[in-house]
């Protein structure tokens, strides 16, 4: 197997200010183009794990490798740049800067990732094309983000995550604010676009029904030990 896009090995994290609470993830790997659903209840440490993967938090031990680079070896500024270059992020909801246009929002990560910008090429055309393939009407492109419906906003968030073809897409319960029909349509688009971009997808959810669409389903409690040290 080629080098995994994401490889977490023996990562441990202790929350500052909450003595004794810790999370350890002995092993988690995602291959290139693979889709993985990470199931876990709220409070199971999912968000923390995502922060470790995205490099906004650093593990106290072990390593987190994304696209072959160990995040723990990078400085804060380099990690931020690295995240912009390699990872597309989709939140649960309110993904967009409400005061920016749809175009502004889609192009935002490229501001912090010059190489990804270069990769994207003619950025506005690419963004418009992404919108089109995500079924967003053309007029939406220049509209203010807060004038869009929630479903449309989530699709814009997908376009933003995918622009410049980052190898890893991280999605934190992106369907939780959508109704059942919209969920299915949204996931269809997400999977199609990830496949088209050959991006690996790591989605976090508490909803096991989504599992069948993914290459692999992992439960948080299988990969992580969430504990309270005696220390």
């Amino acid at each position: 197997m080629a080098e995994p896009v994401l490889q977490v090995a023996g990562a441990t994290f202790r929350w500052p200010g909450r003595a004794g609470f810790s999370l350890s993830v002995p092993e988690l790997a995602i291959g290139a183009g693979e889709s993985l659903l990470l199931l876990g209840e709220s409070g199971s440490g999912k968000s923390t794990l995502l922060s470790l993967i995205c490099g906004t938090m650093l593990p106290h031990g072990g390593s987190v490798r994304v696209a072959g680079t160990d995040l723990t070896t990078l400085s804060g500024a380099k990690r931020d740049r690295f995240r912009a270059e390699t990872i597309g992020v989709i939140f649960q909801q309110f993904n967009l800067l409400p005061f920016g246009s749809v175009a502004d929002n889609i192009l935002l990560p490229l501001q912090f990732a010059p190489e990804r910008r270069k990769r994207a090429g003619e950025v506005r055309a690419v963004a418009a094309q992404l919108c089109d393939s995500l079924g967003l009407p053309e007029a939406v492109f220049t509209a203010r983000a807060n004038t869009l419906s929630v479903g449309q906003q989530q699709r814009v968030a997908v376009a933003r995550a995918l622009i410049g073809k980052p190898p890893l897409i991280v999605a934190d319960e992106p369907t939780s604010s959508l109704d059942a029909n919209s969920q299915a349509a949204f996931l269809d688009l997400l999977f199609a676009q990830c496949a088209a971009n050959k991006a690996a997808l790591l989605m976090v959810s508490h909803d096991p029904r989504l599992g069948e669409r993914f290459d692999r389903v992992v439960r948080m409690e299988e990969i992580a030990r969430f504990g309270r040290d005696a220390a």
Binding site: D80, F99, F112
Partner: protein, 416 residues
């Protein structure tokens, strides 16, 4: 694009940001306005008298001489004898000399005896001459020319009679020799506006029957008789002197100050005005300090607004962080927003200032004779705007640093 997003973010909070901008604008307008009025007042003050090289009076203090001879405040401790006056007038380097005789009053206004040369040589606001609004310079012995404020306050017109009171705040009046208004001067913004001007001879004439502050007993001397009398003054209160060459001013000043026959004092009006302003100027500095504090208050208001917006903007910061923005970028964004707000406020304040000047200039001139020139913004104004922007950046650092720490701790976890 980041700048555009910052501006868009400000627009999204147009109400709170607008209020902050307005507060800064008003404070900047106030500050610049106070500065304008201050310099305007200083210039107006310095322009009270111009074209006069020396003021001569009995020996006292230079500020005191200036106060009573030009501002008609306070009194002379002594007079200058007519002989000394003629002596000075006869000096070859003296170009012109105008006598001033003070001591009487009309209602709340001072009466000043002088010669018609006063109208020719008294200059104010960089060489402007006195202009007649109505009538003419006094011609008859009992003619008077009144300042604009005297006419406006007392409602006098040409030909109206004026009875001069003996001394200041006195009930003894020179009833037997009523004057009539021959001319009314244009507004000047100087103490001349509040002066009743009569001839030197008239001052002598009304004191014919007076001795040592009291009227002589018996019948008053008829006006016809007075007109026939020799009314050459016995003394003057002060004299305005013009010198034919500025280089000689100091020589004449020294000669007068060392005059052996009588202790005299000659002052340079500009120097004395400067000394006087140094006394008055403390209040003006205090006023400026107070208005500067208003600007600081407005900026602290902006800091409070940014602080209170931080929590609702945590999501925005998380989005920026998730997209790869460094905490430093978040800090920079907040500082940038504060600078934009402050700059907008400062520029709007400048606009308000000019609006205020356009509206207020004629009013101030009419009411106080204070002329505030409307000039293009100079280095001073640009400095103030720059300082407000920099100060805005500095005060915004406090909430921005908090945002920096918050975004470092939150990362991309969206907290609501």
């Amino acid at each position: 694009m980041i700048l555009r997003l910052a501006i868009a973010s400000l627009f999204a909070r147009v109400l709170t940001v607008g209020m902050t901008v307005l507060a800064i604008a008003l404070s900047v307008a106030l500050f610049l306005g106070v500065e304008k009025v201050r310099t305007g007042a200083k210039d107006s003050f310095a322009d009270t008298i111009s074209g006069t090289d020396l003021i001569v009076g009995a020996r006292s203090g230079s500020v005191q001489l200036l106060l009573y001879s030009v501002f008609r405040i306070g009194n002379a401790t002594n007079n200058v004898t007519w002989e000394s006056y003629l002596d000075i007038a006869a000096r070859p380097d003296v170009d012109w000399i105008v006598p001033i005789s003070l001591g009487d009053s009309h209602r709340q206004f001072r009466v000043m005896g002088t010669s018609t040369a006063f109208f020719e040589h008294y200059k104010y606001r960089r060489g402007r001459s006195l202009q007649m609004a109505e009538g003419k310079v006094m011609d008859d012995l009992f003619d008077t020319v009144i300042g604009a404020d005297v006419a406006a306050t007392l409602g006098y017109d040409l030909g109206d009679p004026i009875v001069v009171a003996h001394g200041l705040a006195s009930f003894a009046e020179h009833k037997d020799q009523p004057f009539q208004v021959a001319g009314i001067l244009e507004k000047t913004g100087t103490p001349v506006d509040r002066t009743v001007i009569v001839s030197m001879e008239a001052i002598e004439a009304i004191h014919v029957d007076w001795q040592g502050g009291g009227q002589k007993p018996g019948e008053p001397t008829p006006v016809e008789v007075i007109r026939q009398m020799d009314l050459t003054p016995k003394a003057v209160t002060a004299a305005l002197v013009g010198v034919d060459s500025p280089l000689k001013t100091f020589r004449i000043q020294r000669a007068i100050n060392q005059y052996k026959e009588e202790p005299l004092l000659a002052i340079l009006p500009g120097v004395a005005l400067g000394e006087l302003w140094a006394i008055v100027g403390i209040a003006e500095t205090a006023l400026l300090a107070v208005s500067a504090m208003v600007v600081v208050t407005a900026l602290i208001g902006m800091m409070a607004t940014i602080f209170s917006s931080l929590n609702e903007r945590r999501r925005e910061m998380a989005i920026f962080r998730a997209m790869g923005a460094r905490p430093r970028t978040i800090l920079g964004l907040l500082v940038l927003e504060a600078m934009l707000t402050a700059a907008l406020g400062a520029v709007l304040g400048l606009g308000l200032l000019y609006l205020g000047l356009v509206v207020g200039q004629p009013l101030l001139d009419a009411a106080y004779g204070l002329w505030i020139p409307i000039t293009a913004p100079g280095m001073g104004e640009i400095w103030v705007i720059g300082a407000v922007v920099v100060a805005g950046a500095i005060v915004s650092l406090v909430p921005a640093l908090r945002a920096y720490r918050m975004s470092l701790a939150d990362g991309m976890i969206v907290r609501t």
